[in-house]
């Protein structure tokens, strides 16, 4: 095998990452749960992206008969002010997915950074950062959001921030544990002896090995984020300008006994999203774990 002729046998990092991603998704889709999870998420993503094309009505349009049961004109029926619930649920998918992914990503960045520093440097840094994380873990999110909304009114970014603040400590703890374990390994010592910079060690040496359980947690975080957002919407705290599943439930709670469809369909949508994300996380976990256990750490 003569590779000396080739200038570099290594594809560029970005191309390699993309290829790894495709392989990974393929692997996930083949696991028992991952395949179902992928299918559900794909469905939700398509619905969110093509919402304007799929939804038969403008969701906020109050044109139909109020509290009409499901029919051919209104697949999911209408709510108390005549809005088509099917369109509401379709558009609500957008909000939920954005919040779910956005909050998960935000928690990953915030929690990941905190955990990384706490786990790598230990000592005083660890003490301070992990106490802060514990503090946030004990804060009642809903109460805080209530206060903030009462003071500043509700908007989307506020809600997103609230959800991120609720879920970042779990991510931080996970990354912290990974870094504590990995910083003791000989390849980190070797990097120090080779005078590689601290930033390099934290990001290029340790991070790739720390990631596998972290992405599983991120998928679960997204499902938690969706649930939190739905709770906040249900309590009436969500941004009135945006359609969200929780918000539909907020309106529907007064009519549960007379118009079951107003709460059933948004509830089912929430269920589907959460289950889909959990199944996806299961699939992720399966491809991530046996590698680690079988032949020592390997990509």
């Amino acid at each position: 095998m003569s590779e000396l002729a080739a200038p570099s046998a290594e594809p560029r990092p970005l191309a390699r990452a993309w290829r790894n991603l495709r392989t990974a998704i393929g692997n996930i889709a083949h696991t028992r749960h991952g395949g179902a999870g992928c299918a559900i998420l794909l469905l939700l993503a398509l619905v969110a992206v093509f919402a304007p094309s799929i939804a038969p009505y403008d969701p906020l349009q109050q044109a139909q008969a109020s509290l009409a049961p499901p029919s051919l004109e209104n697949f999911f029926g209408t709510d108390n002010i005549g809005r088509d619930i099917f369109s509401l649920v379709i558009y609500g998918t957008r909000t939920s997915l954005v919040i779910g992914l956005g909050a998960s990503f935000g928690a990953l960045i915030l929690g990941g950074t905190v955990g990384m520093f706490a786990g790598y440097f230990r000592g005083a840094v660890e003490a301070i950062l992990m106490r802060v994380a514990e503090l946030f873990q004990t804060l009642p999110v809903i109460v805080i959001v209530l206060l903030t909304v009462a003071l500043f009114g509700s908007n989307f970014w506020l809600l997103l921030a609230a959800v991120i603040l609720a879920i970042w400590p779990a991510e931080a703890r996970l990354v912290y544990g990974q870094y504590i374990k990995l910083r003791r390994m000989d390849f980190v010592a070797a990097a120090k002896v080779a005078d590689l910079s601290t930033a390099h060690i934290m990001l290029r040496e340790i991070l790739p090995s720390a990631i596998p359980p972290v992405i599983v947690q991120a998928a679960l975080d997204a499902s938690v984020a969706i649930l939190i957002e739905a709770s906040l919407g249900f309590l009436g705290l969500s941004d009135p300008n945006m359609v969200s599943w929780g918000q539909i439930l907020h309106v529907a709670q007064d009519y549960m006994t007379v118009a079951w469809w107003t709460s059933f369909f948004p509830g089912a949508a929430i269920c589907l999203a959460v289950v889909g994300l959990n199944l996806f996380a299961d699939g992720l976990n399966e491809i991530v774990d046996p590698h680690l256990r079988g032949r020592g750490l390997q990509p």
């Binding site: 390849f187 010592a189 070797a190 120090k192 080779a194 005078d195 040496e205 790739p208």
Partner: protein
């Protein structure tokens, strides 16, 4: 005047731990007032059993840990006092190889990437010539064809190959001293011999010194010029001919505990045993009875 690349003066490393089921805190001196000189170019072995503190000494020499008391000096300057330039010289001059070769290479990087980071950090070659540079060093430790190994992940290599990559990584920087912390204990005997031979040859050809830390006296005997014996964090004996004329009782104990595969010694041992069986007596030297 001899040149010492590293010196340890009164080096102590304390760990505070709590004994199980007790509130009392235990202070363990992993290293206890150690004085040691490492001469330029020499192969010094540090032997002892587990818990003797020899690995701690390695970490202290590499500045992976700091002493609780005492000082480690590089070319006469205490490590904490090194300025930027001296620090870079220290990090080039003093390199390391570790015990478990599979964890001393980053499992998520191919060999080429692992080595490139180090090479680029120290500007060992221009980017266009980097690959050839790395290939050359892999070949010099016996990994041939080097391109084959550059493309591999660590898990695709055997323990001996991984250890050779680690040696290449250390040698790339043209160090004056390599601290090897139990580099052989994870390897099969035939591979141990290869790695020992490699170290011996590098010592001769490149005039690089070794601090070889090992619990295996047999392995050390074939390569070490000076041997330090450690027990409970202290050096109890140090010298050139501890194998022939051990002075300290602990050294004698270690020497006696060696098992031999030499046919003549096996014959002596077996006939000793069969005589013992015939007369129904235990045959072991009384000093080693539990």
């Amino acid at each position: 005047m001899t040149s010492q690349i590293l010196q340890l003066r009164g080096v102590t490393r304390r760990y505070v731990s709590r004994a199980p089921y007790s509130w009392r805190r235990q202070i363990v001196n992993a290293a206890d007032g150690v004085d040691l000189d490492v001469h330029e170019g020499e192969t010094l072995a540090i032997v002892g059993e587990s818990g003797s503190g020899k690995s701690t000494l390695a970490k202290l020499m590499l500045h992976l840990e700091q002493p609780s008391d005492g000082v480690v000096l590089y070319r006469g300057i205490p490590l904490p006092d090194l300025n930027r330039q001296q620090w870079r010289a220290y990090r080039r001059d003093v390199q390391a190889i570790f015990q478990d070769p599979s964890s001393s290479l980053n499992p998520r990087m191919r060999v080429e990437e692992s080595l490139s980071h180090v090479a680029r950090r120290h500007e060992l070659a221009e980017p266009a010539k980097l690959r050839a540079f790395l290939a050359g060093h892999l070949a010099s430790v016996g990994l041939d064809p080097p391109e084959h190994y550059l493309a591999r992940y660590p898990y695709q290599l055997s323990g001996g190959q991984q250890q050779k990559v680690a040696i290449a990584r250390a040698m790339m920087l043209e160090p004056r001293l390599i601290v090897a912390d139990e580099p052989l204990s994870s390897l099969d005997i035939s591979i141990q011999v290869q790695v020992l031979d490699l170290m011996r040859e590098l010592s001769r050809r490149k005039r690089v010194g070794f601090v070889l830390i090992s619990h295996d006296l047999n392995a050390v005997q074939s390569i070490a010029e000076r041997i330090a014996v450690m027990q409970h964090g202290r050096i109890v004996e140090i010298g050139r001919d501890i194998f022939d004329a051990p002075a300290h009782p602990y050294t004698r104990l270690l020497l006696q505990a060696r098992l031999s595969a030499d046919p003549r010694e096996v014959r002596a041992r077996l006939s000793n045993l069969s005589h013992a069986r015939a007369s129904n007596q235990p045959a072991e030297p009384p000093s080693l009875q539990a």
